[in-house]
Amino acid sequence: MYTFSSKLKTFSFVLMIVGVLGIGYGFLTAPKDIQEVEAILKAEEAAHHGGGHGAATAHEAPAETTTEAHAEPAKNEAEAAVATTEEAHAEPVAKDSATTSHDTTVVAETHAAPAKEEAHTETAAHDTHATAGHDDHKEHLEHVLHQLQNKPWAALYVACLFFMLIALGALAFYAIQQVAQAGWSPVLFRVMQGITAYLLPGSIILFILLLLSGLHFNHLFVWMADGVTDPKSANYDHLIAGKAGYLNFPFWIIRAAIFIFGWNLYRYLSRKNCLAQDEATDNSFYKKNFKMSAAFLVFFIVSESIMSWDWIMSVDPHWFSTLFGWYVFASFFVSGITAISMVTLYLKSKGYLENVNSSHIHDLSKFMFGISVFWTYLWFSQFMLIWYSNIPEEVTYFKTRIEDFNLPFFGAVAMNFIFPFLVLINTDFKRISWIIVMAGIVILFGHYVDFFNMIMPATVGDQWFIGIPEISAILFFFGLFIFVVFNALTKAPLVPKRNPFIEESKHFHY
C-alpha cells in the first residue's frame, strides 16, 4: 500500500492556495469598463512608443497600411475608412466575400480575424459609418475590454481542460492496454487508475466552467452571446446562426454532461471490477473489464471528437477543421502517457513499485516518443493543408496565431516534437530516469502551450500573456491533480493480484 507522503500533501495544498490567490488576483485586476481599458492602453502606448494611439495599433499589425486603416481608431479615419468600411463592415458573410474582392488578400484576411470577434458585440457601431472614427475607437476599446475580461476566465479554462484531459488521456491508454491484453502493463494499472481518479473532480470543475459560460459570466464562447442568432439584433451573425442547430447552449451542455458521465462511469466501473478481480476466484471481472473497455473505446473516440468541437473548436465558431478531434486527442493522449510515466518514476524512486523495471519505463518512453511524433504529424497536417490552399476563411486561424502567438505557436512544435524526438530516440536514454523526467516536463509544458494556442487567440487575442492568472491556474490544478491522484493511490494495493497477465508483467523484460 502506498502512503501519501506528508511533504507531497503539503506541497499540493501550497500549490492550490497559491493558485487560488493568483486566480482571484486575475479576476480582481481584470478591467471593469471601457475607461479602465483606455487607461491600460494609454499606459501601454507610453511604455512602448510614447506615440499616438494609431501608432500602437499599427505596431500590433505591422506592414498593413491602407486597407487596415479603417480598423484603426481616430487616426486615418477620414480617407481610408470611407473607401473600405462600406463592404467590409456589413455582415460576416459579406465580409468574406469582401475579402476576395480585395486584390491584397493578405491585408483583408487580417482584417477578417479581429472583425469576426467584434461581430458579436459591436455590429451596432458599424451601422453608423458617418462618425466612423469615434465609433471605431470605442469599438476597439470594447473589443479590448472583452479580451481583457476573458483573460482570467480563459486562463482558468485552459488549465482546467488541460489537467482534465491528462486524466482522460491516461484513461484511454488504460482502456487500450486492457483491450490489447498487453502483457507488460498490468503492474502499472493501479498507477493509471490513480491518475484517472482526477477525471471526476476535474470534469466536474470543467462542467461548472462550461455552465458559467452558458450563463454569460464570460465571453469565452462567442456563439453564446445574446442576439447572434437573431436577424433583427445588432449582434446578428449569419454564420453562427447557420450553425445554431448544433451550437446552442442546451444541446451543447447536454452533450457535455453525457460525455463526462460516460467517461466517469467507465472509470468508476473499471476500477471497481479491477479491485473485485483481486478477491475473485475466477476471471469473470477481468472479462467484464475487457468488454467494457472495448465499448468505452468506441464511445470515447466518438465523444472525444465531439468534445473537441464543442469545448475547443467552438471558441472559433467561424472556423472548422476535420482532423481537429484527432489532433486534440494526440495532444492529451501523449500528455496522459507522460503523466503515467512520471508518476511511475516518482513511485518507483520512493520504492513503492518493486515489480516495475527499466523495461516498463522503456515501453512508456517509447509511447511518449511515438505519440509525440504522431501529434506533430497531425499538427503539421492541419497547418500545412490550410497554409497551402490559403483559403481566407480557414487561414485566419493560423494567421492570427502566427502573427500574435508566434513564439507559443512554433515553440509548441519545438517542445512537443524536436526536443522529445532528439532526446527519446536513443534506446539507452529511454531507461534513464532523469532524462525521461526532463523530456516529460518539456512535453507537458509543450502540450499546455498547445492548448493555450487553441483557446487563447479566439478569447483574448493579442492581449495574451503568460502572467499571474495563467500560471496560478496551472498551479491550482496541478496541486489538485497531485492531491487527488496520490490520494487515490493510497486506496488500493499498487499491484493487482489476480490479473491474468500480472505474472508476465512482473517478469516483463525488453
Binding site: F380, F383, M384, Y388
Partner: protein, 175 residues
C-alpha cells in the same frame, strides 16, 4: 598444426544451446561462431557480442538525407529559379518550407533506410552470388551448431562439449 582445427558441437534445442553457451563462456573457451536456423533471443548477450551500431548509422544517414533534400530544394526552388508558382512565396526557404516538408521527410526516411540496409549487407558480407558459408546443412532447418577452435586440447574439448548436451561433436580440419 592444430591451429585450424575446430570443434563443431551440434544441438537440437535452443535452450540447450543457450545453456551450452553459458558453460563454454564460463570455461573460457573461445566461441568462433554459432549457426542457428532462427534468431535465438538473448544469444548475442550470452555470447558477449558487442551491441550493433547500425541504428547510429541510420540516424546519421537520415541527417544526410535531410541535408540533401534541403539543399536540393533550396537550390532549385529558391536560388536558381524562384518562380511564382500559384502564389507560393519563394523569397526564402523558410517562407515556403511547409511545402517542402513532405520531400524532406521522405528523403530522410529513404536515406536512413536504404543506406542502413546497404551498410548491413556490407558489414555482414552479403551479396547475390556469395558462396554460402554453411558448415552443416541441418543448421538452416532444425539444428544449432557451435564452433570452437582447438588448441592442443582436443580430447578435453570433445569431452567438455559432450557434457553440454550436444547431440553430435565433430572435430573438423578447417582450410
Amino acid at each position: 598444426m592444430s591451429s585450424n582445427k575446430v570443434i563443431h558441437a551440434i544441438y537440437n534445442d535452443d535452450d540447450v544451446l543457450m545453456d551450452a553457451v553459458h558453460k563454454t563462456r564460463a570455461a573460457h573457451h573461445h566461441i568462433e561462431e554459432i549457426f542457428t536456423p532462427f534468431p535465438v533471443h538473448g544469444l548475442d548477450k550470452a555470447m558477449g557480442l558487442a551491441p550493433t551500431r547500425l541504428a547510429i548509422c541510420a540516424f546519421i544517414y537520415g541527417c544526410i538525407g535531410l541535408t540533401v533534400a534541403t539543399t536540393m530544394m533550396n537550390y532549385i526552388m529558391i536560388s536558381d529559379w524562384p518562380q511564382d508558382i500559384g502564389g507560393k512565396p519563394s523569397f526564402s526557404y523558410i517562407q515556403n518550407m511547409p511545402a517542402f516538408v513532405p520531400v524532406m521527410f521522405e528523403m530522410t526516411v529513404f536515406f536512413a533506410a536504404h543506406l542502413m540496409v546497404i551498410t548491413f549487407y556490407m558489414r555482414s558480407k552479403l551479396w547475390p552470388f556469395k558462396q554460402a558459408e554453411n558448415p552443416d546443412v541441418r543448421t538452416t532447418d532444425d539444428h544449432f551448431l557451435m564452433e570452437v577452435s582447438v588448441h592442443d586440447n582436443e580430447a578435453e574439448l570433445v569431452k567438455f562439449f559432450e557434457g553440454t548436451g550436444a547431440v553430435e561433436v565433430k572435430v573438423i580440419e578447417k582450410h
